[in-house]
């Protein structure tokens, strides 16, 4: 053979050409679909995190507070009972703070329903005491309840358990729904990847046939397809993540501007570890896309060739 020196462009030689053309693996349409999937999956994951964070904050507040309500035949009796109850509370270990609401504060609470005016002239409005307690005291409120009723027969202690349970249930339902949406999106990504991999194999039938004839194994071809799908999935997933971050930032801005930071509605403040969780979503999308494509190719080649 000739001993002529090879005339080759080294960089062209060095660059690894994909053995399957990009268009055959779905190309831009697949990237766009994966971007949408990733966008929805990131929003679902963000919903899980926000609900978890908000529920934690709400339940922590409810756990540390109890309310004592004191009724009586007239305002004098209510005032005397409230003073007695305050003494008991202040002498109880585990009570961090007890604040008797003033008449004005109590009236302000009723204002939305009864309107402005001297409602005390015709109603015996109960006294309200907000109490902050330690977790240890919260586990044993019965003795406190007994001591309160001993000095103030009209006292009723509300430990907010009903609210707490309802909130926990609502939070768990919300989280379960968001996880379900996340899993459905991942399932849809699997289905799309399967369809695209099959279409890619059909479109590249001749190439796959030549690869087999020069000695390629099914695993080699599956790895080529997997690599291609990972790249397409990565592009789409990053685009979806960026769009989701933009949507979340926009929602946080509008929420804060519209209802204020003290709202009962969830805060869109996601910390560093939240961002890490969200970053796992595009990675999961890529892996699901690529791995599904690999399995599809192996399965299809085994049946077809």
């Amino acid at each position: 053979m000739s001993d002529t020196a090879p005339k080759s462009n080294f960089m062209t030689r060095w660059r690894r050409e994909p053995l399957l053309p990009e268009a055959g693996a779905g190309g831009a349409p697949l990237t766009a679909v994966i971007a949408v999937m990733s966008f929805l999956a990131v929003l679902a994951m963000a919903a899980v995190l926000i609900i978890h964070q908000s529920a934690g904050r709400w339940t922590a507040e409810l756990q540390s507070e109890i309310t004592v309500q004191i009724k009586g035949a007239d305002q004098a009796e209510i005032a005397a009972s409230a003073s007695a109850a305050m003494r008991v509370l202040n002498d109880t270990p585990g009570v961090e703070e007890a604040i008797l609401k003033s008449d004005d504060e109590t009236a302000a609470l009723l204002e939305p329903w009864l309107g402005k005016g001297n409602v005390r002239a015709f109603l015996n409005i109960p006294a309200l005491i907000d109490v902050k307690v330690t977790p240890a005291l919260r586990t044993d409120l019965d003795s406190l309840r007994q001591r309160l009723t001993a000095v103030a027969p009209g006292a009723a202690l509300d430990d907010h358990a009903a609210w707490h349970n309802r909130l926990a249930m609502a939070a768990q339902s919300g989280q379960a729904l968001a996880v379900l949406v996340f899993l459905l999106v991942m399932g849809a990504a699997c289905a799309v990847s399967t369809f695209a991999a099959r279409a890619g194999l059909a479109a590249n039938h001749e190439i796959v046939s030549v690869l087999h004839l020069v000695g390629a194994t099914d695993k080699f071809i599956a790895s080529e397809v997997q690599r291609r799908f990972f790249i397409l999935g990565f592009r789409g997933a990053i685009a979806g993540l960026a769009a989701a971050f933009a949507a979340l930032a926009g929602a946080a801005y509008l929420l804060e501007r519209g209802v204020g930071a003290d709202s009962f509605l969830p805060q869109f403040t996601l910390g560093g570890w939240h961002a890490l969780w969200l970053l796992t979503v595009p990675l999961a999308t890529c892996l699901v896309t690529a791995f599904t494509a690999r399995l599809t190719v192996l399965n299809t080649l085994h049946r077809q060739y």
Binding site: M1, P6, E17, L19, L213, V214, G215, T217, H302
Partner: protein, 231 residues
């Protein structure tokens, strides 16, 4: 005297497409290490079908086929790529990958075998130079002429130094000078130990080289002694 290894052994093999009658029947054929055969016959006689069975694109519908001593009928699917890597095929229709350069097409058997690029870069370049395409290494098949594509296909078949070379009309699109060079290359590779089967219509070529001939007629393979003068 060392007994030659049997590279190909057909026993009572037949090939039928779908439900139709057999295209090839009662094939009893052996090819030993370092042997050379021409394969001739009229168009549609079954030359390409016979080659397809040998390079494992199709399996015989009856009978047996052993390649390199291994039964291909009962071989697991995973075993076939290793057998195919020992066979270099020059397809009649070239079957180059249009999106790859001439260099990458020739390098394909090495890539799929997992060989490091540094180990075969020189071999690929040398082969492309030898077939006269040293300055077209980065060209893609659609930009090459039929003859150039055929030479790329030839280089791809030879790059892995196969034990068995199958060529289906390898000189159909090249000029007489290149045709002679290619046939001489097959003869040289045959002398180095590779078994070779060349399917051709070119009876002049068959006469010139004087190698044994397998004739296919009406779906049956018969053997003729060496014809002509020899190379």
């Amino acid at each position: 005297m060392t007994k030659k290894q049997q590279i190909i052994r057909f026993e009572n093999a037949g090939l039928a497409y779908a439900e139709s009658a057999e295209t090839l029947s009662d094939i009893n054929l052996t090819l030993g290490e370092g042997e050379f055969r021409f394969l001739t016959g009229p168009s549609g006689a079954g030359k390409t079908s016979l080659l397809k069975m040998i390079y494992l694109a199709m399996r015989p519908t009856r009978g047996t086929l052993h390649l390199f001593g291994e039964d291909t009928i009962d071989a697991p699917r995973e075993a076939l790529p290793m057998l195919r890597r020992r066979i270099g095929v020059v397809f009649q229709e070239f079957r180059l990958l249009d999106h790859l350069t001439a260099f990458d097409n020739v390098a394909l058997p090495m890539k799929v075998a997992g060989v490091n690029l540094n180990s075969y870069r020189e071999d690929v370049s040398e082969l492309l130079n030898w077939v006269g395409l040293g300055d077209r290494m980065d060209a893609k098949p659609p930009t090459l002429s039929g003859g150039e594509q055929q030479r790329v296909a030839l280089a791809r078949a030879l790059v892995s130094k196969p034990d068995l070379i199958l060529a289906d009309e390898p000189t159909g699109n090249v000029d007489p000078a290149m045709s002679e060079r290619i046939m001489k290359l097959f003869v040289e590779l045959n002398k180095l130990g590779a078994a070779v089967i060349v399917a051709t219509h070119d009876l002049h070529l068959v006469q010139t080289l004087g190698k044994p001939v397998l004739k296919i007629s009406e779906g049956r393979v018969s053997r003729s002694p060496a014809a002509g003068g020899g190379a």
